[in-house]
Amino acid sequence: MKRVARALAAARSLPALALALALIAGGFAVWTGWDWYAAAHDDSAEYAAQRDVALAAGEQAVQNLNTLDHRDVERGLDLWESATTGDLHDQLASGREEFAAQVQTAKTVTTARVLSGAVTELDDRAGRARVLVALRVTVKASDGQRTDKDSRMLGELTRTGGRWKLSALGQAPVGGTSAG
């Protein structure tokens, strides 16, 4: 009858064991759950995501603003206007007709490729960012001749309606700021 007694003892200690295991499982779930919540609500992860969104939008906008085909000026300029906001947008909109006429006379096709881009400043609350973009612009003249030109652009982005748009864009000056 020893076997039966042993079995009885084992059966009685089982609930305790089960309870302990359940508690451990519960503790594990609580710990990992908290960890997951912390990771999902990490401010710096959100900031990093904003940085990458701003950079992607900035690179695309800079590329758009350096791309124009004389055969389809209207669509190109629409793209310019949709990628910009603020003063830059107003400038482009007011000079649009004059510019379109110029391009159509010159019959040039300009394409651009972003070589590299980086965000240098980001204020995700105010919705402002600055980007550096190294760009290769290819201009195809009316006689079919192609010329490549590397340029370095400084852009300022402003977030409007949840989207990052260029509010200022210029070439980084060369030799202008010596001994500074």
């Binding site: 990093a48 060369v174 030799g175």
Partner: protein
């Protein structure tokens, strides 16, 4: 989950001891061996018997606890995986700008290093080379040595003075002890008495954190 299995197998002998009728009521247990024989057959047909309500509820409770424990473990694994996914995205791993201090540090170090190694006077080439030894490493160091070896004679002969300045530095990636940067350089060269000419350069630079400072290991023009 092994405890659940053990539960099933160890509980059966107890049921026999309680006097639950066997599948063949005619065979009365004569000795220990007989009990064992009944035990074995009962183990298979226990479910068909009608256990008392108390025992059923104990069993249900145990199953509930087991299911709960399994569910909690699975949930834990899910959370663990989720947290790992969130943390390991490329965007979260890149500390550029999110770690302000480190970003400023690497941008400053790399900008200064480039300005130092690419600025020299006809008689001060050695100083530039010394700077290069302390801030350049790997492929960048080899490239620099090769470049200087090629132009050294020319530079001294033509009395070339070059001054370089990093006008803008942007950090592309920063991950622990390695960083990639985009640097806009301005270079002003002067040949003896001739007028100065300025040039612009765009570089992507790879830097590595070594012995408490950033060293440039690769330079590529864009």
């Amino acid at each position: 989950m092994t405890w659940l299995l053990r539960d099933e197998s160890t509980r059966k002998p107890a049921a026999v001891a309680d006097g639950t009728p066997g599948p063949e009521p005619g065979t009365a247990p004569a000795d220990d061996t007989a009990v064992d024989a009944v035990d074995v057959s009962e183990a298979e047909s226990d479910g068909d018997q009608a256990p008392s309500r108390g025992r059923l509820s104990v069993r249900l409770r145990r199953i509930a606890v087991a299911v709960l424990a399994v569910a909690l473990v699975l949930a834990g694994c899910g959370f663990f995986y989720g947290a790992h996914q969130v943390r390991s995205t490329a965007s979260a791993r890149n500390r550029a700008l999110t770690d302000t201090e480190a970003t400023t540090r690497v941008a400053g170090d790399v900008g200064n290093a480039l300005a130092r190694v690419f600025s020299y006077t006809p008689d001060g080439l050695d100083a530039a080379e010394r700077s290069a030894r302390s801030v350049l490493d790997g492929r960048a160091a080899r490239q620099y040595a090769e470049l200087l070896g090629r132009i050294r004679a020319e530079l001294t002969e033509q009395r070339v003075t070059l001054s370089t300045q990093a006008v803008r530095v942007g950090v592309l990636e920063l991950d622990g002890d390695s960083a990639r940067l985009l640097v806009f350089l301005d270079q002003v060269a002067r040949r003896d008495r001739a007028a100065a000419t300025s040039a612009a350069a765009q570089l992507t630079v790879t830097a590595r954190w070594e012995h408490d400072r950033w060293r440039i290991v690769d330079i590529r023009t864009r």
